[in-house]
């Protein structure tokens, strides 16, 4: 999942790096195919070199030492709003058929509202990055036909007037990679090694379209695995 996420980063990209797993994906990309990518962190940090030690949060000391610049959150968000950010990463608790993301409030089986942490910068990345990629733990209840709280908007009428193209470029789950048609409908692009198309469909909350070119996700290369292991030695983020 982390290696697949890292591959979405192109060399030279200005990447808006969200909390948690994206922190690792950025480091892996920098160590492999995208040495010239620049990372933008919403706390105000810009980095052109990967942090030397494992980060638990983006404000950890090693992410500041040797940073390219330490700005304010406003200045980093302004990069997004000016269209200077080529790719944004964010996590979500739920993703729906139209690419809407929810990380604020879900319902449990009984219909009771469960409160999640909220948007952070997720809504901003979805609204303003030129491309964005969402990361998701693949479980059926996390892929409903329609989320009931839109933290980060996907494809829809509000696209007009926004800088972004609208909707995720990819949703990378623990089982698969979903992409979106020009019409804004999700489809199965690839399934990870160890799973199957059937398994993915059975764990998705709507009748997920399957690309005629569906394939197995390219497994992590030795180089990628080495970068992940070297960075997250104890497997805190990547077990």
């Amino acid at each position: 999942m982390v290696a697949t996420a890292a591959r979405e980063i192109r060399d030279g990209d200005v990447v808006f790096v969200g909390m948690r797993l994206p922190l690792i994906a950025f480091v892996v990309a920098k160590h492999t195919h995208a040495p010239d990518a620049v990372g933008v962190f919403e706390n105000g940090i810009l980095r052109s070199t990967p942090a030397r030690e494992l980060l638990f949060t983006m404000s950890d000391g090693p992410n500041i030492t040797g940073a390219l610049s330490c700005l304010s959150m406003l200045e980093c968000m302004a990069l997004l709003q000016r269209g200077r950010v080529s790719l944004g990463f964010l996590g979500a608790a739920e993703v729906d058929r139209r690419g809407n993301l929810n990380s604020t409030e879900v319902r449990d089986a009984s219909g009771k509202a469960i409160r999640l942490p909220g948007s952070g910068g997720a809504c901003d990345i979805a609204a303003l990055a030129k491309r964005f990629v969402a990361l998701l733990d693949h479980q059926r209840f996390r892929l409903p036909e329609k989320v009931h709280y839109v933290t980060s908007p996907g494809f829809g009428p509000w696209r007009a007037g926004r800088l972004a193209q609208g909707g995720p470029a990819a949703v990378i789950t623990t089982k698969a990679v979903l992409r979106f048609s020009a019409g804004g409908e999700a489809y199965l692009h690839s399934y990870h090694p160890g799973t199957t198309v059937q398994d993915v469909l059975a764990n998705t909350g709507w009748d997920l379209q399957v690309s005629p070119e569906v394939r197995e996700t390219k497994p992590p290369t030795r180089q990628e695995l080495r970068a992940i292991r070297a960075y997250d030695r104890d497997g805190f983020w990547t077990r």
Binding site: M19, R20, F41, E42, N43, G44, I45, F56, T57, M58, S59, D60, G61, N63, I64, T65, G66, C70, L71, S72, M73, L74, M77, L80, Q81, T104, K112, A113, I114, R115, L116, P117, G118, S119, G120, G121, A122, C123, D124, A127, L128, Y149, V150, T151, S152, P153, G156, P157, W158, R159, A160, G161, R162, L163
Partner: protein
């Protein structure tokens, strides 16, 4: 300049009245003013309107201790571990009492404080269109922009009654040096009616004046400044100490139930007199192990002429 140096107890007692809006945790996961938050809890402040983009687990502690009436934030949880249980209990079940949640995104919250700092009632943005965030937050509204006529979102200004900042070093007048990621600190300082500075160390006015570009907090905006070494633990302060990751993990495990949290609160906050007792409880070995050892000094800049 007036001397504003006082004990943290006094600063909180004077400038954080019940019912105040309080901005804190301005630099996201670093330099969170835990010592000040714990003092707020010990003094039994009530009905606070807490403002902060994230504040990691400090917001959760203030909510669990019953200090908050409202939380205006973009993200409330435990950044490393996920959910924050007190926050969930308050929002989902009204325990210990109901708390109003005003959801922002990081950018809209930054803009709200920026509007406060600029002295305007709102600022325009393209973010949040089409989201439930804008639908549910009355401080966000669609409007038509002058000149271009396009639909944009307006973010209403937030001017906190008091902003609490953690700084690396300050002089006795509250002129403070801060470095590392700044988050929303500059705007939260400028937008506030009062500012409390909690500094790792008080230094001479000469040290501060030697680098005016580092003086992110001008003292004439500051009401009180307190010297509290290790005042941000378990969050990190660049150049002073690292993040205590284990503490965040332990907190997560130790606060799953309300009863567990009450025990935790007694042990780590209400039974302690202040930061010195807190550090004793933490133990010298742990404190020492967190201190910065690999120094990385800034290249000097010449302010001469």
């Amino acid at each position: 300049m007036t001397e504003k140096l006082c004990a943290l107890q006094e600063a909180v007692a004077r400038f954080v009245p019940d019912g105040a809006s309080v901005a804190l945790g301005l630099q996201l996961e670093s330099m969170i003013p835990f010592a000040a938050g714990h003092e707020i809890i010990r003094q039994g402040k009530r009905d606070l309107a807490l403002v902060g983009p994230i504040s990691d687990i400090l917001l959760d502690q203030l909510i669990g201790a019953g200090c908050a009436k409202r939380v205006t934030a973009a993200w409330v949880g435990n950044v490393m571990m996920g959910s924050a249980y007190n926050f969930r209990r308050a929002i989902e079940d009204g325990i210990p009492h109901a708390v109003e949640m005003v959801d922002h995104t990081n950018f809209t919250l930054a803009l709200a404080l920026h509007a406060g700092a600029l002295g305007v009632p709102f600022l325009p943005t393209y973010t949040a269109g089409g989201s439930s965030v804008i639908a549910r937050n009355p401080g966000l509204a669609e409007f038509e922009a002058p000149f271009t006529g396009e639909k944009m979102q307006a973010v209403r200004a937030i001017s906190p009654d008091v902003t609490i900042v953690q700084a690396q070093r300050s002089d006795a007048s509250g002129n403070a040096h801060v470095w590392g990621n700044l988050g929303v600190l500059p705007d939260a300082v400028h937008a506030a009616k009062h500012v409390i500075v909690v500094a790792e160390e008080i230094v001479s006015a000469k040290v501060i004046a030697s680098d005016p570009n580092r003086t992110v907090i001008p003292g004439f905006l500051v009401s009180a400044v307190a010297e509290v070494p290790f005042g941000a633990h378990p969050s990190p302060v660049q150049g002073y100490y690292n993040r205590d990751n284990e503490y965040f993990g332990e907190y997560h495990k130790a606060t799953r139930t309300r009863a567990q949290f009450e025990r935790w609160l007694k042990e780590w906050v209400t039974c302690l007199k202040g930061r010195e007792e807190y550090l004793s409880r933490l133990g010298n070995d742990r404190v020492q192990s967190l201190k910065v050892r690999k120094h990385a000094w800034s290249a000097r800049a010449d302010f001469g002429n």
